[in-house]
Symmetry: C2
Subunit: 407 residues, 2 copies
């Protein structure tokens, strides 16, 4: 079974022609090089996982009702977890959310997949931020979406441009990461959030809010989520889908996400989930429910926030001091990423892809920004994650970046 | 959020028009009635789960390498589990299978979804057994498959009919459950298995073998799986996909399945999985790997086999003695199901749907067989699961069935 060519018995579906293997995957193969400092990750630091808390939650899940934790479960999710997640959202200002208003998904990636499966027909237009999460681009493309991009600045998506795009393209949906976006790191302002909701309600446009990072703020919480704000904007709740995740704040390995959506959409997404994976791991759900019920989350969040805040600050300072005017960026207020643009000042490299190759040779890795654009890539951009590197190594890594930049 | 009508902002994808909500789901709502004896389930008995073994495996997974067990993982699967699964397959006669030849899926339901996503374009023809697994029918229909059925008898799918269907329809794939099928309970004979492989190789037709029940035999193991036999039939391995699962033998709540396929197909399925749920719960995978490594599976299998064998025998005897010639069936040699046909002898009810309603009133539940047919339903059929009911209750349930039959 070593021949990678498809035998004549295998004829792939047409939808596969819409996606290509990620250039980033190729880059990741180089990360095994010894001594490399990696800013390339898009994941939390495993050293910060609350292993004791998860062990206790596992034992509690298998002690409380092992039959239920190990058996098939409802496609919508394990009820004790749905209750805990509704309570978790209430703390974040999402009022009047009942457990029945959300379904549990196998990571928020599956929520994106269910959105695609439920809503996107080939040729449908979908508006995403430029840049946006790579796996969203590919996921929606697999369902045949035609992607339109709206620019992002330090205040999040440009809502004037979004309004024009909606009027021009009448999209099936708009996908946004308003808080500490991947890769943009941007925080959408309160004013823009209100405008997005008003725009959605006025034009009857479905807006998907992907919010895996909102809890990872450094100083101040970000503005309320679109979901929380929707209570203040008449008609907007019926146009809103919200995707949450425990991956960045507790553990990606649990694969626990959730999706809040209007009832008719939630019902169809549940049907699609039934035929996608039947339900999310009941054991993982029972563990997450026990963890949340044990009340450990506030302390866990406080700890990861403070550590990521220090690392972010170390990276921001090092980039400014060491790279000067060869790089431009808006310091993130939370999340895992600094999104930067090479200015080419003083003849320095201004192509993220070229720099990524040179950087690997110098012992530092990051992800070039171009693949994060569904259209019209900006080749001068790059994504740097500070989440998994301690402060001294961050400074050392930025020194290596300077060497790679050739300044 | 109580209005179930879709707001004007929600316009569903065309593919949803291909599936309808299952009639069985409506029936399942009645199962909460007190005192009901349910033969309606399609799941293993939670009372048989090896909770101690899974607790030990959980502790081991969180002690050995908690960072890895709780972090993002490779889309292909957690390597220690892939190694254990390859070894598990080797015990069942699948030689020359390396861990790289399989990917871990979120239950075998996800393997079906990935097969659909990777292979099926709208209008593609797919051959399935009549009757077959309901969630396969719906899953493939969501990708636009046009389903063709091949009849099943006590020896499994009718291979003469299959050959004709393949020649006539040139299907994208053939989907079979050769061992103790759901709902048929049938075991495909060795001779038919060989013929299926020869047919696949000769006509370059992709065959999907779904094998969640093969380990649940009562007396003798079933004939070797198509995957095991493919070593003996030149050219057949390149036409074969095999789906396995721990759901029926260990715990459905873990959601651990796997898929063996030709490399080119496995690569595309991996790409599709990346955008479906990124990867299967790493923690669940680490627990399953520890469980298999601990060597507990043989004893667990021996225990569930003997208990299901006794329950199956109790049901077979009770059906024969109590229902006589009003019902016809082939006793299963393994699995969870008796598949039966109402003969109407002596004026007894011969409609499975009608009988199901009457049976609920008498305090016994089962699933009518018609929905398991992708085409031309046989309304006289029914599926009875003995897996979760003890022997006395089985006999009592069959007495109630007799009352419902009106004989």
């Amino acid at each position: 079974m070593s021949d990678a060519a498809a035998p004549s018995s295998v004829r792939f579906a047409d939808r596969l022609a819409n996606v290509e293997t990620s250039a980033i995957r190729e880059l990741f193969k180089l990360l095994g090089k010894p001594g490399i400092i990696s800013f390339a990750g898009g994941f939390p630091d495993a050293a910060l996982f609350d292993v004791d808390g998860i062990r206790e939650a596992s034992l509690a899940a298998l002690a409380t009702n092992p039959g239920a934790a190990l058996q098939y479960g409802a496609t919508e999710g394990f009820d004790p977890l749905r209750e805990q997640l509704a309570a978790f959202m209430a703390v974040k200002g999402v009022t009047e959310l009942s457990p029945a208003d959300l379904i549990v998904t196998t990571g928020s990636q599956q929520a994106l997949d269910l959105i695609g499966k439920t809503l996107i027909s080939p040729g449908d237009k979908v508006i995403v931020e430029g840049p946006t999460f790579l796996a969203t681009i590919q996921c929606f493309k697999l369902y045949g979406a035609e992607l339109i991009t709206v620019p992002v600045d330090g205040q999040g998506a440009d809502v004037d441009a979004l309004e024009r795009q909606i009027e021009q393209h009448r999209p099936k949906l708009v996908y946004l990461i308003p808080a500490f976006g991947n890769p943009s790191g941007a925080t959408m302002s309160l004013q823009r959030r209100r405008r997005v909701l008003e725009l959605a309600a006025r034009t009857h446009t479905l807006v998907v809010e992907d919010d895996p990072y909102g809890d990872l703020y450094f100083d101040q919480p970000p503005p309320p989520s679109l979901l929380a704000l929707s209570a203040q904007v008449p008609g907007s709740r019926a146009c809103l889908v919200h995707c949450g995740s425990l991956s960045k704040v507790l553990s990606p390995g649990l694969r626990i996400g959730w999706m809040v959506a209007p009832p008719a959409l939630l019902a169809k997404a549940t049907m699609c989930k039934q035929f996608s994976d039947a339900h999310t791991s009941t054991l993982a759900q029972a563990i997450a429910a026990q963890y949340l019920a044990a009340g450990r989350m506030p302390a866990t969040l406080a700890r990861v926030r403070s550590i990521y805040a220090r690392r972010a600050q170390a990276m921001v300072q090092a980039l400014r001091q060491t790279l000067g005017d060869t790089i431009d960026f808006v310091p993130p207020q939370g999340g895992l990423f600094v999104w930067a643009r090479l200015t080419g000042a003083g003849g320095a490299c201004h192509d993220g892809g070229v720099l990524a190759q040179r950087a690997i040779e110098r012992g530092v890795a990051f992800v070039p920004g171009a693949p994060f654009f569904a259209r019209q890539p900006d080749h001068a951009t790059l994504r740097l994650s500070f989440a998994t590197v301690d402060e001294d190594r961050i400074r050392e890594g930025v020194q290596r970046l300077r060497a790679a930049l050739g300044t």
